[in-house]
Amino acid sequence: MTAKLTNAQIAWRAAQDIQDGAYVNLGIGFPEMVARFQPEGRQAVFHTENGILGFGEAPAPGQEDWDLINAGKKAVTIKPGTAFFHHADSFAMVRGGHLDVAILGAYQVAQNGDLANWSTGPKGVPAVGGAMDLVHGAKRVAVITDHVTKDGKPKLVAACTLPLTGVGCVTRVYTSLAVVDIVDGCFVLREKLAALSLDDLQSLTGAPLHLDGAVADLTCPEV
């Protein structure tokens, strides 16, 4: 199989679509990596559910202030223009449609835009956090994910089998193999790795990939 993109490269690709001045929420874990790859000359304003807008990078080890953390409980820093606010105001920003984009991880994304990213089933302790709010709040909800699960099963599916985070909310998926939009209940392929045939990509995808004009090569630098 063709060499797939690394997580850093997927994050890099997602970062290219974030405009200067955009208000952005990055899901905890892998999506946080997107912040590293803002294109030269563009500066997004990052929002975290726990009440900070416009925070900066992680501090140097040993310099953490544990009152200054992101939603993943990792230490961040302030920058000129940072603002603090309480949780209801924070989710007013989310639910009220004020974020330009939210970038989240996924267990499954369905061709109708349904997202499953909070529960792998009834075992263990369920935990949802702010994901269900983000998917219905941000103007654009994008997913970054490996194209398939660890055991090779499609993560882009005809219909989610895992518990839903939100209904019909995802509009673009950045995977390790492709960039796929969700339009009118269909997966529309926008970019794929050049070395990967459409047939091979389709075989790794759980629902039909539609074409709408040319499919660009998905190219990422070594990052």
Binding site: G81, T82, A83, F85, A88, R95, G96, H98, H136
Partner: protein, 244 residues
């Protein structure tokens, strides 16, 4: 990112006929007089914007600010809680003549509907107004044995507000009770324009003291020493000025 706009005219350029405009202020405190007057200037020069729906606690006082907008004939409808003032003649005469519509909303419901619009809450229940004429025709429901009225969110195309300090990212602070409706209107409008008495670089406002985070603000225009509506009315001011 720099949200500063250099002229009042440019700041109000996006407001078109038939739009819904939230205007900050409680009586004169917090009224963005310069923004309103810039909008009047545009209307007088171009005939637009007209047929506006204006959301404000009141309905103008004297012959400046919102009263002057109404006097010019720019306003088709007011949504407010208290369309009375020391000198409410401009609104009163047009209302009694059937030339302007009024949606009267209890003040707390007005505030909560605006906040709901900004927070993505399409409807909520409130005890306010239950059993009164102002709840007529609205859905009611009982929770824990008490009766409530269902109210809908309020949103606007544009909000015009007055703040004290604003940085280039749109973070705002206010001055005393001039704060009133401005922070929630900033949340509820598709586009929020703030006149600020002082524009500062990012970092010029303590992150703890930001009242309106910049995400709710689209542009700021600096207006040092803004007019106070109350002072204008005490001086019997008219806008535009009446010439002899």
């Amino acid at each position: 990112m720099d949200k500063r706009i250099s002229s009042l005219a440019a700041a109000v350029a996006g407001i078109e006929d038939g739009m819904t405009v939230m205007i900050g202020g409680f009586g004169g405190s917090g009224a963005p007089i310069e923004l309103i007057h810039a909008l009047i200037d545009r209307y007088r020069a171009t005939g637009s914007p007209k047929n506006l729906t204006v959301i404000n606690n009141n309905a103008g006082n004297g012959h400046v600010g919102i009263a002057a907008m109404i006097e010019q004939g720019m306003v088709a409808k007011m949504v407010c809680s208290f369309p009375r003032s020391a000198d409410p003649r401009v609104f009163t005469e047009r209302y009694l003549a059937g030339e302007i519509d009024l949606e009267l909303v209890p003040q707390g419901t007005l505030a909560e509907r605006i906040r709901a619009g900004g927070a993505g809450i399409p409807a909520f229940y409130t005890p306010t107004g239950f059993g009164t004429d102002l709840a007529k025709g609205k859905p009611v429901a009982e929770f824990d044995g008490r009766s409530y009225v269902q109210e809908r969110w309020l949103k606007a195309d544009v909000a015009l507000i007055k703040a004290e300090t604003g940085d280039h990212l749109g973070n705002l602070t206010y001055r005393m009770a001039a704060r009133n409706f401005a922070p929630i209107m900033a949340m509820a409008a598709a586009r929020t324009v703030a006149q600020v008495s002082r524009a500062v670089e990012p970092g010029g406002i303590d992150p703890e003291a930001v009242v309106t985070p910049g995400i709710f603000v689209d542009c700021i225009v600096e207006v040092p020493n803004p007019a106070q509506e109350e002072d204008l009315n005490r001086a019997n001011a008219y806008y535009p000025e009446v010439t002899a």
